[in-house]
């Protein structure tokens, strides 16, 4: 028995020395350490031996088993290292060959701009709200202090659904401001929202005019809101969009539904204020219309203007990528040429 073990031990180690790969090593393991191997069989059959033989044979067999396990682990380490080294000895690839192609999609530059504007205002605690593209005259005009015949209607060339005029005439909203009214009819202050959406104008299309474009409207109503809050908020917005070095100008302007009214302009991106054709030689580019919510607008939605104040603003979305990337034709946005869209 013991001799037999001795021989097994020698044969096994001789075989182990010759093994050159992990697969053969596994075969070796099964042969000498597997459930059906002679050694394991022997260990199992120990209890059938007389007690004195059992002790000696048991000790010997266990010693061999431990030795096999140690040798196996050692050999495995060597083979692992060997295969790793082999793995590293390879020809250089031509890394300039193109990779396997993956389709790349992008969001439309206008969607990207809207998402960016919303994210800026989300960061200042604004929520997002939306309203319909097809509106009543009441929301688009009357409720915003622009009754029929009002001179300010000249500011908006309107596409109408209904030929008959009146507050119940349907139209394509000319700005996102009607959503201010819808929001204030539904919710009470404090309000802090931005409203993205499409707007429409009866306007001949050219490089700087589209009959459809996007706006983001904003509205803040609460106790104690002042023009300083308006300036601070919109200054942050302009800086986030156009860089913190950019000069921002606030001037008086008129929109019927705000008082006082504000126009926000940034220093021209292409001439840095010196004057060029992009800015109409003024050095400034208008990016936002804004103002303190008109007391009559607040009254109309049952918010007491003696208690609450607020500010509202609206900005054209197309302008932002146009200015940033120097896009000189607004029609490119809705032309959907991949060669244009895949640049952003």
């Amino acid at each position: 028995m013991l001799e037999h073990l001795e021989e097994l031990y020698k044969t096994a180690l001789d075989e182990l020395c010759k093994i050159e790969n992990l697969a053969d090593l596994e075969l070796w393991r099964v042969r000498y350490l597997g459930k059906k191997s002679a050694l394991i069989q022997l260990l199992r059959s120990l209890k059938t031996l007389p007690l004195d033989e059992r002790r000696e044979a048991g000790a010997q067999a266990n010693k061999i088993k431990l030795s096999f396990e140690a040798e196996l682990s050692e050999k495995k380490k060597i083979l692992d290292e060997f295969s790793l080294t082999a793995c590293l000895k390879r020809e250089n690839l031509d890394v300039t060959l193109p990779g396997r192609q993956v389709f790349t999609g992008r969001l439309h530059p206008i969607t990207q701009a809207i998402n960016e504007i919303c994210a800026i205002f989300n960061g200042m605690g604004f929520q997002i709200f939306e309203g319909p593209d097809v509106e009543w005259d009441y929301y688009n005009f009357e409720a915003l202090n622009i009754p029929e015949g009002h001179p300010a209607r000249d500011m908006f060339d309107t596409l109408w659904i209904d030929a008959d005029r009146g507050s119940k005439a349907r139209l394509l909203r000319t700005h996102t401001s009607p959503v201010q009214i819808r929001l204030m009819e539904q919710k009470r202050p404090p309000l802090r929202v931005v409203i993205p959406g499409r707007v429409y104008r009866y306007e001949a299309t050219d490089a700087t005019h589209e009959s459809m474009f996007c706006q983001v409207e904003g509205l803040v109503v609460d106790k104690g809101i002042t023009m300083a809050d308006l300036k601070g908020t919109l200054f942050e917005c302009a800086r986030s969009l156009f860089g913190s070095e950019r000069k921002v100008r606030f001037r008086c302007d008129y929109f019927p539904f705000v008082e006082p009214g504000v126009e926000v302009a940034i220093e021209c991106l292409s001439c840095h204020g010196a004057g060029c054709h992009v800015c109409g030689f003024s050095g400034w580019i208008e990016v936002l219309g804004a103002g303190m919510v008109h007391p009559d607008v607040l009254k109309r939605v049952d918010i007491d203007p003696a208690v609450y104040t607020g500010f509202a603003f609206g900005m054209g979305v197309e302008r932002i990528p146009m200015l940033r990337y120097g896009i000189n034709d607004i029609r490119l946005f809705y032309g959907n040429d991949m060669r244009f869209l895949q640049q952003f």
Partner: protein, 803 residues
């Protein structure tokens, strides 16, 4: 609106450069779009006539020698009023002038007149475009510097202003001068409007009746008898010509001048032509006719307001005078109208008649009811100066809209509440004073009672006054602060349509390019998504005033836009394309309510599965399952489970499209685009399309989501092969397998038809994953479940198990 710097200087001292003035006006709300120095009259200079001799060959022509500074030039001249010592405008060769007879623009060339060469011309006013006067040459004042360019001598700087609709007072030279005065801290010098009333009382000449006081809030009139209608003085002609207005005669010129100066349109009637010595302001009769000053016959209706006498209409109120009551050289008594007409009526009348005038533009902006009187006084005094005559005693002033003018109470607190600026009442009053507001102390030392000046009709509330104060002190004085108030309660449901944003991001991540197409579309394009060129959805909402046929209807589907975008890019030699749009469609409401605006997703793909490259020739064409796979991936990302069922959508090839169903509700379709539809969009190759209703999907996405514990116990995997009739869809098989609670996943790994199974049958090879959340499954348990599944399948679907 254009305003001349020279003219502004009549009322206010301007020491700043035009650029500085423009900057101040712009910041205060009156945007200066452009500053222009006049540069007309190129090659025309101031000359001095040094000698006049007879022409050797013509009695009526003379030879004039003109000193133009650098040289003396002899020219032929036909004017009789030329004499030595005169300063005249002299045009050199190359100058552009108006032809004295035809009025056309001509370029002056050296010529020979009756044998004598002439290399220039002494000009009349008409030739220079200053007035209609061509009787004789234009004679300049003695101090005109010889050799100076005529443009420079006459010239000026002009501001092109963009006056906002609320500031009708700034459609006037004085209005702008007043702004400049306030912005530079000066007072305004207004023209003297005092005049002597030497004639009989106006009551004895004329009476005025306003038949419709709603449409004519005020009517003022003055009368001058014994006027001499003739040419205007040069300064008056010049100023009008700077504004592109031709000088007509002194009376008309004064009315135009005062309109530019005060912003109040005026009209002069020949008094003798007013029948019944009565002015009636009334609506026109249906089909009433009037010949207007522009030589057209106008057919009127009761929406138009007219100025009439007892017999007929003599002018369209606020828009244009009639030809019959026009001033002539023989006119000796004039009635000057200075009135206010309802701006909506003027605007509509002007639109309906397609007739715009300087007057109608101003009236339709809405002018102050208090403006007619000061403007009338100014016109009267100026008329007496340039046309002579005697003013009748008093004036007519019918003022149905007269209201008590209540001062507005403005507190320091209100200024601070809106603007954040801390100003005391003294500072506030000082700014308002500069703009012509009158501020009275109230009992409250923190409050001023502010009276609005006559020229402003846009100031009603304390907020309006706050704007006045702040725009003069400058918006720059307001600090920037961050919003400090408490945040409103966050309302996730109010947000941007969540599934729209998520679906767009998911698709872009899977290689789809987002496109945006117009909401407005042609009927033709909407019909193209049907193989029989018929509308698929409801009749779309139509615009009452479309700009073009291409943009006449509101889209009821995104398909035409997306397919057009696909076609456009195919034409650019892109064969393999994947694009999508998310956006609103507009489903009309039968009751005339607003349409239902539904948010949809539509995507289209065509070409090969991979792009051709050195790894892969890219020859595998897309099929239905590529499109479906994408739909499934989108749904998976949204944690939704979709079912698919054959669709009869007309845009899709019959039998090659599926409805997407979630919780028994149809939420979209996916399939192969009908070849006829593809052809109508000029698309090549097979196109796949899918569409989803994002509003519905949002509803499911917004639903509650519960965490599923991950089982700690190992599961088991078994393969089964089932042979079924060809007609049995895989979905049915899968449904019965999934019905077992231990099954966590079912994967089809082979679909076989062929020799090894009977004809008319097919075999699905399915890998089934079993797992229990609470124990390790034994082989016996799994076998038992598998037997149950097989039993159910054979019972429901008549399947045969295949080993």
């Amino acid at each position: 609106m254009k305003v001349s710097l020279k003219w502004l200087r009549d009322y206010v001292d301007i020491n700043l450069s035009p650029q500085e003035i423009a900057e101040k006006l712009t910041m205060a709300g009156i945007e200066v779009a452009n500053i222009q120095a006049s540069s007309s009259w190129d090659k025309v200079v101031v000359g001095e006539v040094v000698a006049v001799e007879p022409h050797p060959n013509a009695d009526r022509l003379r030879l004039a020698t003109v000193d133009v500074g650098a040289e003396r030039i002899m020219v032929v001249c036909g004017a009789s009023n030329i004499s030595p010592g005169q300063k005249v405008p002299f045009a050199q060769a190359g100058a552009e002038l108006f032809d004295g007879h035809t009025g056309e623009i001509i370029c002056l060339k050296p010529t020979k007149i009756r044998g004598v060469s002439s290399t220039g011309m002494v000009c009349s006013e008409r030739e220079l475009g200053i007035s209609d006067n061509y009787e004789g040459i234009m004679i300049l004042p003695h101090d005109a510097p010889v050799g100076m360019s005529f443009g420079e001598y006459m010239g000026d700087t002009f501001f092109e202003l963009e006056v906002t609709p609320n500031r009708s007072d700034c459609l006037s030279v004085i209005g702008i001068a007043r702004e400049i005065a306030a912005l530079t801290g000066q007072s305004l010098q207004l023209p003297n409007t005092a005049y002597q009333e030497t004639g009989e009382e106006i009551k004895s000449f004329i009476s005025v009746e306003i038949a419709d006081s709603e449409l004519c809030p005020r009517y003022c009139a003055g009368l001058i008898s014994g006027v001499t209608v003739g040419a205007s003085p040069l300064w008056l002609q010049q100023r009008l010509s700077n504004y592109g207005m031709r000088s007509i005669n002194n009376v008309v010129d004064v009315t135009n001048y005062v309109m530019l100066e005060y912003g109040q349109p005026l009209h002069a009637f020949d008094y003798e032509k007013i029948a019944g010595r009565k002015i009636i302001v009334r609506r026109a009769f249906e089909n009433e006719r009037l010949n207007t000053l522009d030589g057209e016959q106008r057919v009127l209706n009761p929406d138009v307001l007219v100025i009439a006498d007892t017999e007929k209409a003599t002018a369209i109120a606020g828009i244009m005078g009639g030809a019959e009551s026009e001033m002539t050289e023989n006119t000796s008594v004039i009635l000057i109208e200075s009135a206010n007409f309802d701006y909506v009526t003027v605007r509509r009348g002007s639109d309906a008649l397609h007739l715009q005038s300087e007057a109608s533009i101003r009236f339709s902006k809405g002018l102050s009811h208090r403006l007619p009187l000061p403007a009338l006084k100014r016109a009267m005094s100026l008329l007496l100066e340039v046309a002579g005559g005697q003013a009748a005693g008093d004036i007519v002033d019918v003022y149905p809209a007269r209201e008590e003018e209540k001062p507005i109470a403005l507190t320091c607190g209100e200024v601070k509440r809106l603007s954040s600026l801390e100003m005391n009442i003294g500072e506030i009053s000082k700014v308002l004073d500069l703009l012509g507001f009158a501020c009275c102390q109230s009992k409250d030392p923190q409050e001023a009672l502010v009276s609005v000046p006559y020229w402003r009709n846009d100031i009603h509330l304390p907020a309006d006054l706050v704007e006045e104060v702040v725009r003069i002190v400058g918006y720059d004085r307001i600090p920037c602060t961050s919003l400090s108030a408490a945040l409103p309660v966050y309302d996730a449901a109010a947000g941007l349509n969540l599934s729209q944003q998520r679906a767009a991001n998911i698709l872009a991540g899977m290689g789809f390019q987002e496109v945006l197409t117009y909401s407005l579309i042609s009927l033709d394009l909407l019909q193209k998504v049907s193989p029989v060129q018929d509308l698929i959805g409801p009749m779309p909402l139509k615009l009452a005033n479309p700009m073009t046929q291409e943009q006449e209807y509101l889209r009821t589907t995104l398909r035409p836009g997306v397919l057009s975008a696909l076609a456009r890019n195919q034409k650019l030699n892109e064969e393999t394309l994947r694009l999508f749009e998310t956006g609103k469609v507009f489903l009309p409401d039968d009751g005339g309510d607003l349409p239902r605006e539904k948010r949809m997703l539509c995507a289209a793909l065509c070409g090969t599965r991979t792009k051709a490259s050195w790894h892969d020739r890219g020859e595998q064409q897309l099929d239905f399952f590529d499109a479906k796979g994408i739909v499934e991936a989108v749904l998976r990302r949204l944690s939704l489970q979709g079912e698919f069922k054959i669709s009869d959508d007309p845009s899709l090839t019959p039998g090659n499209g599926a409805e997407i169903i979630i919780d028994g509700k149809k939420l979209g379709v996916v399939g192969e685009l009908h070849p006829r539809v593809a052809r109508s969009f000029a698309l090549s190759g097979t196109v796949y399309l899918f569409e989803m209703d994002l509003d519905e999907i949002s509803f499911f996405v917004a639903g509650e989501k519960k965490f599923q514990p991950v089982s700690k116990f190992p599961g088991a995997v078994r393969d089964i092969a089932v042979v079924v009739e060809e007609a049995v869809p895989y979905g049915e098989v899968k449904k019965y397998i999934e019905a077992c609670s231990m099954v966590t996943q079912v994967e089809l790994f082979d679909l076989y038809t062929g020799e090894q199974i009977p004809r008319g049958k097919k075999s699905f090879a399915v890998r089934v994953f079993y797992q229990s959340p609470d124990h390790t499954l034994t082989d016996e348990e799994v076998d038992k479940e598998q037997q149950k599944i097989m039993a159910r399948l054979s019972q429901k679907l008549d399947v045969a198990l295949r080993s």
